[in-house]
């Protein structure tokens, strides 16, 4: 049996295990270990396993993941979401659809210190849904805006998904963070535009809210300064090379913890629950990381990545056509599974395909450009039926809005995301401008 055949059997087994609901990490470990054994025999594998887990976990670079996750937990607990939404609302609320815009803006700002779409959508929903109901916003606009707003966090740094992608393709995390900023802001603007077009056609779905006085606006800005400061210090520090990402994450987690404590929201019980929530996600990610390590060794031994790369390069197909096909696969997968797991599973296969194609840019640029476009498509999966995890979370906070209305509500935001992807594909400098400038 040729090694490529073996790789294909491995992939089929992996898909089979996933379909029967074996956790992603376990499926990867099982196939990776069996494949490695099939190609090299038992002894090398058993020998490798002695230290594999330690060396996979003992990484200075990867320590950003638990630190940023803990930062997100502290931020969620500190009630920052309320002040961010409040600040956005005093500036936008008096417009038609303005309260929904404030919810999206609050999501974007919160995503900037949290980095998890689910946590962003969840915490923002708790604050914004009652306000949206008070101003009699239609259920589909209110829940759609929040579900979509939550996805902004995947791109606006620090984002855990971005870090995972950078690890998977061995890209520079700092450059990935830089590349994500403009597309992230573009996403925010696109979502706001989607709301204003929506309320233009259906004015009754987003009534005007109260106009805030200048004093109220000033007050709201004063309340948000610690959050803004934290974001500027962490991201600014990383962008300008004052910190490496781990240092930025440590400063962020420390700052968010101090902030939550200062606001009187972090007692011992709160600290324990933050730790436990961060532990749960960290454990999930690192176990997948371990599985990906074994799967990658197996795949590298079969040489299937090179084969795919050559196949793509020699296929004669237009590179952009292949890119679009890959993105369609992501859109499909994104509807079925967790975004972080999906990145780990697909990148070892998809990235070599991309790397074999000629888009007229150096490999470092290609990594950033492909990554940003991919993550936007992946985030779309969070709000697409049938799974749409963000939609489920919002639904939990707005039980009187039927799920169908929420899925209808996210449609304009999905369209806005589609326009953004098209723009980013056609004009790579939108993504690459900032990393090149700061180089």
């Amino acid at each position: 049996m040729s090694s490529v055949q073996l790789a294909l059997i491995g992939l089929a087994a992996l898909i089979g295990l996933l379909v029967i609901r074996i956790p992603v990490a376990i499926a990867m470990l099982t196939v990776g270990i069996f494949g490695y054994v099939a190609l090299s025999g038992f002894d090398p594998v058993l020998d490798y396993m002695k230290t594999a887990a330690f060396w996979q976990f003992a990484s200075y670079e990867f320590s950003v993941i638990p630190m940023f996750l803990l930062m997100g937990e502290f931020a969620s607990r500190s009630g920052l979401s309320r002040s961010l939404f409040g600040a956005a609302n005093v500036f936008l609320g008096h417009r038609r659809g303005g309260v929904a815009m404030a919810a999206v803006g609050g999501c974007g700002a919160f995503g900037a210190i949290c980095g998890s779409s689910l946590a962003t959508a969840g915490t923002m929903a708790r604050v914004a849904i009652p306000e949206l109901e008070r101003y009699r916003y239609s259920g589909s606009l209110a829940t759609g805006a929040l579900a979509a707003g939550g996805t902004l966090g995947i791109l606006i740094p620090p984002s855990v998904a971005l870090i995972i992608y950078a690890i998977a393709v061995q890209a520079n995390i700092v450059q990935m963070f830089q590349a994500a900023l403009i597309p992230g802001i573009l996403g925010l603007v696109g979502y706001l535009a989607a709301i204003s077009i929506w309320v233009h056609f259906f004015p009754e779905s987003g009534p005007v809210g109260a106009r805030a006085s200048t004093a109220e606006r000033l007050q709201a800005l004063i309340e948000t300064w610690p959050t803004i400061l934290l974001f500027v210090v962490v991201i600014g520090g990383i962008y300008f090379g004052i910190f490496d990402p781990t240092e930025g994450a440590a400063v962020g987690a420390f700052g968010a913890g101090v902030l939550a404590f200062w606001k009187g929201r972090l007692d011992l019980g709160g600290l324990v629950s933050c730790i436990k929530d961060a532990a749960k996600i960290t454990g999930m990610i690192f176990l997948i990381l371990l599985g990906a390590g074994f799967l990658n060794i197996f795949m590298a031994l079969t040489g299937v990545a090179d084969q795919l790369s050559q196949l793509a390069a020699n296929s004669g197909l237009n590179p952009y056509l292949i890119l679009i096909l890959l993105l369609l696969v992501y859109l499909l997968l994104g509807c079925l599974m967790d975004s972080l797991a999906m990145i780990f599973l697909t990148i070892p296969i998809f990235w070599p395909i991309m790397a074999g194609l000629d888009f007229g840019m150096p490999e470092a640029d290609l990594k950033m450009w492909f990554g940003i476009v991919t993550l936007i498509v992946v985030e779309a999966g969070l709000i697409t039926p049938p799974v749409g995890i963000n939609v489920l979370i919002i639904n939990h906070h707005a039980p009187n809005v039927p799920m169908r209305d929420t899925f209808r509500g996210v449609t304009p935001f999905l369209l806005s995301g589609l326009v953004r992807v098209a723009l980013l594909i056609l004009i790579p400098p939108i993504t690459l401008f900032l990393p090149h400038l700061l180089l």
């Binding site: 609901r21 074996i22 630190m67 400063v251 454990g283 999930m284």
Partner: protein
Amino acid sequence: MKGFSKQLHKLSSVFAIAGGTTLIILITLVVTSIIGRAVFSRPVPGDFEIVAVGTAISVFLFLPYCYLQRGNVAVDIFISRMPSWVQRAMDILAAVLFGFIAGLFAWRTVYGFSDTFNNEDISMILGFPLWLAYPFGIASFMLLSVSCFYTAIAALREPDNE
């Protein structure tokens, strides 16, 4: 059986909190190092080595808690539409598979520990012994493996409680 389940959950929580405490110590260490570098031009030497090994320790300690809280993501779209006995069978299969793999890692990590100990592997700058992290790995993989097999047995025995 119930009492044992409670003990497992409690122990995994203790592990997770210990891991989180380790993480917070690392965060504080890094912040101290940055302040040292900025204010006194004296960072904590070799802080990145402590962070790397400390991260491994806290990740090890998180694993059993993550499992018992059903934190390991799976693709739940086909099986959730099957009859409940199929779902239970798949859950048991997943738990047994996970239990074996965790057990395998626990077993191999024991040898990793003895190798690292006997070779006197030390970190590059600070020179502290690397075997320090291994006992956490062994204990966590063991707890993880026991939790998996326990889950499988519990699902077999008390189907209605699932």
